[in-house]
């Protein structure tokens, strides 16, 4: 029972972890903005997520069954080798990184808000609506 109560939060947890990972990757790109030959990195989580959603699903005979692909989905870091507009071979676009960082920050805050709300709802149920 308790595992099912927190199943919504565990999905959010994965998204939070990914957002944090992405923040780290962006910070790394920004730190290396003047390193010759450095190639920018990114986490294509949204694409992976869409792909996992649209791919073949396993047959579910019990409502408790989960989609295996979503369950094993993890954040992977890829290196952008194809884009280089600078003579030193560095592929970091500082403006794009700043935009990505702002977007990621908002996403992270939204996810935190959602987790907090989910926890408050559970708390309300536990306190029989008095909490």
């Amino acid at each position: 029972m308790t595992a099912r109560i927190f199943s919504g939060i565990s999905n959010l947890e994965k998204a939070l972890d990914t957002a944090w990972q992405r923040n780290k990757v962006i910070a790394d790109n920004i730190a290396n903005v003047d390193t010759p030959g450095y190639k920018a990195k990114m986490i294509p989580f949204e694409q992976d997520f869409d792909q996992a959603l649209s791919s073949v699903k396993m047959k579910k005979t019990n409502p408790k069954h989960m989609d295996a692909q979503l369950d094993t989905l993890t954040a992977r870091v890829i290196t952008r080798n194809n884009t280089s507009m600078r003579y030193d071979g560095n592929s970091v676009d500082i403006d794009a990184e700043m935009v990505d960082m702002a977007k990621n920050n908002i996403l992270y805050n939204a996810l935190i808000e959602k987790v907090a709300r989910e926890l408050r709802r559970i708390k309300t149920a536990v306190m029989e609506g008095r909490g």
Binding site: W20, N23, D28, N32
Partner: protein
């Protein structure tokens, strides 16, 4: 979720850019130094950056994750000195020419602006990381 690692990455960027700034200041301060310890005029110095990898564990996992930036050294610019005709200068050669450092002030100022902007970008990244970490503490409040 390793808070300190993300902050350290931005911190290494701050250190590297500040070091670059120090080198530029040194170049500008010595833009007219015609004599150094080895008898030559001052040579322009350039810091060399390289990206830090995530250590042994990240090699083991074959991961592309790196851990910020590192200053690997300072090299001297080997381009030619500027020659100025000034026979009365104590460092003038037999033809009356004085070798001045290969420091180009315009280039240094542009590098200084670039370092300053990069430093600001790292500060922004660090502040974002900090605000995310603080936001996570609000869960369950």
């Amino acid at each position: 979720m390793d808070v300190l690692k993300a902050i350290n990455i931005s911190g290494s960027g701050l250190t590297a850019q500040r070091f670059r700034m120090d080198t530029i200041a040194q170049n500008i301060a010595n833009a007219d130094t015609t004599r150094t310890e080895n008898g030559e005029p001052y040579r322009r110095r350039v810091p060399v950056f390289s990206s830090k990898n995530g250590g042994f564990l990240s090699h083991l996992k074959n991961s592309t994750e790196s851990g910020g930036v590192r200053v690997t050294g300072v090299v001297e610019d080997q381009s030619a000195f500027k020659q100025v005709y000034d026979p009365n200068h104590p460092d003038a050669d037999e033809n009356g020419y004085v070798n001045y450092p290969n420091v180009d002030l315009t280039q240094e100022i542009i590098n200084m602006m670039s370092a300053s902007r990069s430093y600001e970008a790292n500060v922004t990244a660090l502040n974002t990381t900090k605000s995310m970490a603080l936001k996570a503490l609000e869960i369950g409040r």
